[in-house]
Amino acid sequence: MSEASIRVPITASVIQFFHRLFTRGATRLIYCAVMIVVLWIVGLPLSAIFIASFYSGSPLDPGPFTLANYVLTYTYGPTYQALINSLLYATTGTISGLVIGLGFAWLIERTDMPFRGLAWVLIVVPIAIPSFLLSLGYILLLNPTNGVLNVILRWCLGFFGYTADSGPINIYSLGGMLYVNAISGGTSSFLLLVSAFRLMDQQIEDAAMVCGATKWTTLRKVTLPVLLPAITVATIYKFSGDLNDMDVPLLLGLQSQVYVLPTLIFFSAFYSDTVEWGLATALSSPFILIAFGLSYIFYCVVVKNAQQQKYATVGGKTTQSRRVRLGKWRYAALGIFLVYFLLSTGLPFVILLWASLLPSYRVPSWEALSLVSLTNYLELLQWPNLVPAVWNTLLLGFYTGTSVMAVAFFTSWIIIRSQFRGRFFLDALTFLPHVLPGSVVALGLVFTYLHPALAPAGLYGTLFIMALGMMVGYLPFAIRVMNGSLTQIHKELEEAGTVNGARPITVMVRVTLPLVLPAFLTGFVWVAAHAFRSLTMPLMLGSADTETLSVILFNLWERDGDFSGAAALGMGLILITAGLTILARKFIQRAFGSWERK
């Protein structure tokens, strides 16, 4: 055999080796890279706070190892009652959120309800309003003494003999708490479901009806089962978010002595200047167990079936989606939407707008009209750091939205598509921050990124570290959006790419990503809107050079006690978010105009 002929087999072997590395090895490299990124972003901060929960004292000055926090949690009687209250609170909120989200997602994406585009924007805009402003808006509307709605209701009911000088609605009650939670929780559920409806193939339903199924039977046995991944994702996300909700129960539930677990955490760990971080984490541990349980349910119910393409609605064939004609019910549907919008956002928005035009809040009256002026807005415009703050806010929204959705896409691909053994752990790990108190998670980030080993990296006080910190809080939603969407994409499309020689990363980016782009953009809008109003990370990880609008708002609220000024700035945040949402919606419409049917 000649030397030349020996060289050929060796060269061919080397080429084959690298070819295998770049095909099969590339996939494993992607798994490893994503795992490392997720462990870095989520695992490190969470492990810092979990470790801290096994030590007395603060993470800053840890004492000896102890199980006292956990012993205290599970031997303290009220813990269980608070947990039951939390479960009830979350269940009612989830049911209503699901009904609202599912109902409006269907109306906007699948029917010919008028002003659908506007409705899409109006459902998303509430994200921009900081929760403490929105909560106060509800109180000013519905407090039994002189809440604006109550005053109007008393006047109306006066014709029917109602003579009481308070009520009829009392927001400081268990019912008030449940009402506010129910009415204000539709946005996230809607966003988790809307892209699923967009990717739904009408032919599946047509096939059922051709076989004699009624509309109701089709809905029960075809539509809802196909949407099961998205519904499961929305349910799990809403439920766990409501478990962790503290603002509404603390503001409204105390009067009726209703304590949920987050309220218990507040009084046990956060009420004084000396915060008990370890106890806060230990008291959250029931939620952590629930989060793992929910992730396991998602894994068993959805992921395993998704791998058999049970929920795929987008395949190699052309898909069709027609809008359901509502006929005379079109305007009734619009009416229902408007009532919901008014109750959930419109009325609190009007109250906040009214407050922003006054030097200090007054109940709307002819006398108070004489105090109306644009002074608060003019003062804001003269704020020395306003322009840099707006720029920082927009940049932060963009960085965070892009990075979160990018990581979510790859992570979700591994969870739904791969056979990677650690995918359940990956899903559960990224979900955990959603059930922990925000301050506790934030502390974990502080201890991670300000560790002396990392200090030379110079991340302190930069927009980058703020975006990194926010990723922890927004990954749960982003991954759930992508999970729901990916289950609807048939593998055959990706296999077609692989068969034609595309590498895994190429298939992901050039085949899968364009198909799930509606969900990607929806998630981007949600993340960016939350980043605009996010307060915890900019306050803790930012510096004077990276001040954002939310920090200015916080200073107005907390340090200056200026409710009217804060309300004015809140209006500004709503405008920015509305602009972003309109742009995103237009892009989705243009890019996916072929999805629109007659």
Binding site: L136, N146, L250, F267, S268, F447, A455, L541, A566
Partner: protein
């Protein structure tokens, strides 16, 4: 005649010598005293500086970085006033730290050396963290103040720190709901059944706890229990309560912050709320300033602390946040309002710690809010 003149001259000369030597002795004694004070401070591992040393050092430094405890809006005014007094300190920068997590971050960053500042705003809630990490330079403020090297009211000195602000608990009421003849005058008016269900009380017991040590812990707990029996409206935060007061939903706010309430009145003089300073008025000291151990400009920092505690600095502070300035300094709103009213204030850190403990007991024992661990 000649002899008489000679005698007078000699006498005069001797007197002059005596006078000169007395003055020189005094100067020598003073410098000897200052030396003694320095040595005394050194024995306690503290640093004593004379005013001349402080000024000379500050001139050499020429710049400063601070973390003030007061509202951010007022920092530029304070900096401008300070620069006017000390024009040789040309470059002043600042940072703001808000909240417990940000404080933890601050402590970590300072300990790691990844943050640089000259003047700290010390959170007494985590004072041990500062002490254990040796973050505060041990200046003998008490000695320097007593020797007249620094012009700071002595009561504002607490160890190696100087507090420059205070928070005062008062009663605010809505004039839409409360007629002048029924206006509250004192703490016990919060227990009046006519205000049942209309009295706002912050769930954080510390606002009431400020009345310690003027009232004993038991007196405070008893008051808190009676307050609970009057069916209060539990609130959280001053800002979110003020609109409810100005709208008339709430009649009284017992334990309101003086400067939070006054801010509303400054912005809107026609706001339908009034302030009542009860007796005793509850107060807590705040904005504890100290020099960072690794400060690059410690002398300029000392001048800053002195300035913010001075009448001039407190006037500036009170101008952008009335009620926030120290009650010890004449001319501040707190000083005017307190007047001859008995002030309940903790003179030392041990008392502050006890005050916090009383606040916790109010929440758990008197108000029965759930707290794991109690």
């Amino acid at each position: 005649m000649k002899t008489k003149r000679l005698r007078s001259t000699i006498l005069l000369f001797i007197c002059a010598c005596l006078l000169l030597s007395t003055v020189r002795a005094q100067v020598f004694a003073q410098s000897f005293d200052l030396q003694a004070l320095k040595q005394e401070a050194a024995k306690r591992k503290q640093i004593f500086l004379t005013r001349a040393e402080i000024l000379a050092g500050a001139k050499k430094e020429g710049k400063l970085k601070v973390v003030p405890g007061f509202t951010k809006e007022g920092i530029p005014d304070m900096v401008a006033a300070f620069k006017k007094k000390y024009p040789f300190i040309k470059n002043i920068s600042w940072d703001v730290v808000t909240g417990s997590v940000a404080t933890q971050r601050e402590v970590m960053a300072l300990a790691a050396g990844s943050k640089q500042t000259d003047v700290l705003n010390v959170s007494t809630a985590v004072l041990d963290s500062y002490v254990d990490r040796h973050l505060m330079k041990a200046y003998d403020f008490q000695g320097m103040v007593q020797a007249g090297e620094l012009k700071i009211p002595l009561k504002m000195v607490q160890g190696v720190m100087v507090w420059t602000g205070n928070s005062i608990s008062i009663i605010a009421y809505s004039t839409l709901v409360v007629p002048p003849e029924k206006a509250p005058k004192n703490w016990n008016d919060c227990l009046d059944p006519q205000w049942k269900g209309k009295v706002a009380v912050d769930t954080r017991g510390r606002y009431l706890a400020r009345v310690y040590p003027a009232w004993t812990a038991e007196q405070l707990l008893d008051f808190a229990k009676k307050l609970k029996n009057n069916d209060p409206k539990w609130v959280r935060g001053q800002t979110s309560t003020m609109p409810r007061l100005t709208s008339g939903e709430l009649a009284l706010f017992c334990g309101a912050n003086l400067h939070s309430t006054n801010r509303v009145l400054v912005k809107d003089p026609s706001a339908p709320i009034k302030i009542v300073v009860p007796d005793p008025v509850g107060m807590t000291t705040g904005d504890h300033a100290a020099i960072y151990t690794k400060a690059e400009n410690p002398h300029a920092g000392l001048l800053w602390i002195e300035f913010t505690a001075s009448k001039e600095g407190q006037e500036v502070r009170d101008s952008f946040n009335p009620g926030d300035g120290s009650y010890l300094v004449e001319g501040t709103l707190a000083n005017k309002l307190v007047g001859t009213t008995k002030v309940s204030v903790c003179a030392d850190l041990e008392c502050l710690s006890k005050q916090r403990e009383v606040g916790e007991r109010i929440i758990v024992e008197a108000w029965k809010f759930p707290k794991a661990g109690r």
